[in-house]
């Protein structure tokens, strides 16, 4: 009864002409910045913050949320078309999405991403409406020990991401962990590997590394073999998934949505972890696991669903507790405060129109997004047919603008160029950047949580086994290692990857 009333209230707010307009404006803008590589939702929302001062609070937040989840839709576009992940969560989409594009199936990949995102977004919105407060309470049960064990599990998954040799992948994981060490140590403030450069004090930005290693390296590689590109264009066939494709994506979309929704609730890098985990699991369970990394449609459907589901459920801690789970949520909290709304547990009871209005608007926004995006698939695909001599300078310019806008510093642009070169060298050495990137994200978090857990236990490592959730995850990790190292499975793995 209460829920139906609340949803009714939400609809009455979200369906008002002005809020519909701001929702549409938000998702449109979100799609646009998602498509532009590097220009992420954080920079855009920060720039638009002053504009929202004059809007009514609900409209302002509806628009800002629209930008965020809209960008998750759009983020996959450049990953698929030009191998430039616009934001962290689309790194995995690039693995198979770009391969699909090279095979002339860019349209199908984009459509799959949109369909998966829509389904995931809808389901996650329902979860948000039904269970937000209890889920937030559960997320609070996750202490440092639990997070550490979750990261261990995640790091193991990174090895699954690799297409080539296990040795190369392990080397890249170690490199990622080392890169993640750069910056001030959380506990003591001691600088590590910063060489006295203040811009490195807070570590290397993820987007900087991702755009360099994927986007720039790919540009260099393409310029090397000039006649690679024209062959792709001629191969574009269908835009929409076939019946066979549909059969293959249903499972991944469902699993991706479940994984993404669950991990999105956790503070930190929930939605990033979600897309990596969804991809890794899909690669394990899929009948077509041999195709992964060579353009498997499952490899697009699963992470895209996970990342959109996670984007929606990451609102849960923000809306119910006033705790930001990522920089975008921190901006949303800032927007609320400027509007005179104190974010926190009281928002649901004191501002029901705001809370339910935002939730319902998310569903409407997802509908807008799929309507906006599906017809645009045909248009985006044409981007690939732009002659590469015009396309690549555009890619470079957008990467440069995007990276600069993160911290308003040109240092990041130089750093991205450096990682572009490094990425190119790794391409030549047959080393995959994806496991490195996951380790780069997870490494510092793992260290932080481990040291925090040990501080709390006064150095007793048993804390990881005494807490049931943590122990279960470590047991799963141990099981995964045992299974992977059994000779029979090892052989099978070799076959899978050596093909």
């Amino acid at each position: 009864m209460g829920l139906i009333d609340n949803i009714g209230l939400g609809f009455s707010v979200a369906l008002s002409a002005i809020n519909l307009l701001y929702c549409l404006a938000g998702v449109f803008l979100g799609t646009l910045i998602g498509v532009l590589p590097g220009l992420g939702p954080t920079a855009t929302i920060a720039m638009l913050l002053p504009v929202t001062f004059t809007l009514p609070p609900v409209s302002a937040l509806i628009m800002l949320s629209g930008i965020y989840y809209g960008s998750q839709y759009g983020g996959s576009t450049t990953s698929i078309l030009v191998n430039v992940p616009g934001e962290a969560a689309s790194v995995v989409t690039a693995l198979d999405g770009y391969q699909m594009a090279l095979k002339g199936r860019a349209g199908v990949a984009l459509a799959t991403a949109a369909i998966g995102s829509f389904f995931a977004g809808t389901v996650a919105t329902v979860i948000l409406a039904l269970f937000a407060p209890p889920l937030a309470e559960i997320a609070l049960k996750f202490g440092p020990a639990e997070f550490f064990s979750l990261m261990v599990l995640g790091l193991l998954a990174s090895l699954v991401l690799a297409r080539g040799s296990l040795l190369h992948a392990t080397g890249m994981v170690v490199l990622g962990l080392l890169l993640g060490l750069v910056g001030a140590d959380v506990n003591t403030g001691t600088q590590r590997y910063t060489f006295g450069i203040p811009q490195l004090a807070d570590g290397i930005g993820f987007v900087v590394v991702a755009m360099g290693m994927f986007g720039l390296a790919e540009v260099i590689r393409n310029l090397e073999n000039e006649d690679d590109r024209p062959t792709i264009i001629s191969k574009i066939t269908t835009l929409m998934p076939t019946k066979e494709d549909w059969k293959r994506i249903i499972g991944p979309i469902l699993r991706g949505t479940a994984i993404g929704s669950a991990l999105g609730i956790l503070p930190g890098s929930g939605s990033i972890l979600g897309s990596f985990a969804a991809y890794a699991i899909e690669k394990k369970v899929s009948k077509n696991s041999a195709e992964f990394g060579k353009g498997a449609i499952e490899g697009v459907a699963a992470p895209e669903s996970a990342n959109n589901a996670g984007a929606q459920t990451s609102f849960i801690p923000m809306l119910t507790l006033g705790i930001p789970s990522n920089p975008v949520m921190a901006l949303m909290i800032g927007a609320m405060v400027i509007q005179g709304i104190q974010p926190g547990p009281s928002v649901i009871t004191e501002q029901p129109a705001l809370f339910w209005g935002i939730i319902v608007s998310m569903w409407i926004g997802n509908l807008f997004l799929v309507i906006l995006n599906l017809p645009m698939v045909g248009m985006w695909v044409k981007i690939v047919s732009v002659p590469y001599q015009y396309l690549f300078p555009a890619i470079l310019v957008f990467c440069g603008i995007g990276v600069f806008s993160l911290n308003n510093t040109e240092f990041d642009v130089y750093l991205m160029a450096l990682f572009g070169l490094v990425g190119y060298i790794f391409v030549k050495l047959d080393c995959e950047p994806a496991p490195m990137l996951l380790a780069f994200i997870l490494g510092p978090m793992m260290e932080e949580y481990m040291r925090r857990a040990l501080l709390l236990s006064r150095g007793d490592p048993m804390i990881f086994l005494q807490r049931p959730i943590s122990a279960t995850m470590l047991a799963l990790a141990a099981l995964a290692i045992i299974v992977a190292s059994l000779p029979m499975f090892y052989k099978k793995r070799e076959e899978t990857f050596r093909e």
Partner: protein
């Protein structure tokens, strides 16, 4: 040689530019305020509210540029490289006074490289604990901490953060060392306090008020000399049993060294008027903070405040043996 000529040329141009801007009505173009923290945080909010109100008064546009990193020192260094023409300003909090002690290799001098414009606000901090923490009030908390020195965990938002400073002051007042659990920012720290993973911390009202009001955490006192309007029932730390324990998270506006005095005065006047704006006052109150009195929104008052805070925190930080670099 070429270098010297070009430098001469540049300074001539700067001088001409400044002279021209000076001849025109100030502000003739957009004024940028550097905020050395990420957008959306409490300091950013304070800066944006101030920028908006001052912009209206100066009949110009003020925009906020977030240059985050290294505890605010990157943003501060950026200001010292800006033209002293009144078009690049800087808003920072108490961290500007603690940076000289925390960072051994600063590229600037926190006092002499900045032209103080005026203080903006005094923000309160609250001493809070997890919901099921046994102590009822501050006296019980002090007794409990004394008896369980090795068991209690105090959270903070990372090296150099306001919660870290407050925690250091707490330990220095108790003449003891406690296990401190550092986080990357106040959000994750509050998350673990709500989840009962850590025992207590001292954090800005911006982050604690809604949780205190919802009964999710316990509060023992506010760190300002006087009680605060948004939670009048909460005693000050002095009243609750720790005399001389005061921390305020104050924000202030600075210009680069060498900004013409006429412009600094104009800015200071605009700041004083902005701080009387009812919307700004209301928003500040929502954040558990209040604008400073008119006579403190002046260059002289800020100079005195900055000097005394540098002198207050320097020894505390040095005794704790803490460095951020």
């Amino acid at each position: 040689m070429i270098h010297r000529i070009s430098r001469l040329l540049v300074s001539a141009l700067v001088f001409l530019g400044a002279a021209q801007a000076y001849a025109e009505q100030y502000p003739a173009k957009v004024i940028t305020i550097i905020v050395p923290f990420a957008a959306g945080g409490p300091s950013d909010t304070i800066a944006r509210l101030t920028a908006q109100a001052m912009g209206t008064i100066l009949k110009g546009t003020m925009i906020v540029e977030n240059v985050a990193g290294a505890g605010g020192t990157i943003g501060a260094a950026r200001l010292t490289q800006a033209k002293p023409d009144g078009y690049t300003l800087f808003i920072h909090h108490i961290g500007h006074a603690t940076a000289p002690a925390l960072y051994r290799k600063l590229s600037y001098d926190a006092m002499s490289d900045f032209e103080p414009v005026g203080l903006i606000n005094d923000g309160a901090m609250t001493f809070v604990a997890r919901k099921d923490f046994p102590a009822k009030d501050l006296k019980e908390l002090l007794a409990y901490v004394a008896a369980n020195k090795d068991k209690v965990n105090m959270a903070n938002a990372g090296v150099g953060s306001a919660s870290h400073l407050c925690g250091m002051l707490f330990m220095s007042a108790l003449k003891t060392d406690l296990t401190t659990i550092p986080y990357k920012g106040t959000g994750p720290a509050m998350n673990d306090l709500l989840g009962g993973q850590v025992d207590f911390m001292c954090d800005q009202t911006t982050n604690t008020t809604s949780h205190i009001k919802a009964g999710k955490i316990k509060v023992y006192g506010v760190t300002t000399p006087k009680r605060i309007a948004s939670m009048p029932e909460v005693p000050t730390m002095n009243e609750a049993g720790m005399p001389n324990f005061t921390v305020t998270v104050w924000h202030a506006l600075y210009a680069p060294k060498g900004t013409p005095k006429a412009i600094v005065d104009q800015l200071s006047k605009a700041l004083q008027d902005a701080l009387k704006d009812p919307t700004l006052k209301q928003r500040f109150a929502d954040l558990g903070s209040e604008p400073v009195a008119q006579e403190r929104a002046t260059p002289e008052a800020l100079r005195v405040q900055l000097k005394s805070e540098i002198e207050k925190w320097g020894p505390i930080i040095k005794n704790a043996g803490v460095f951020a670099d």
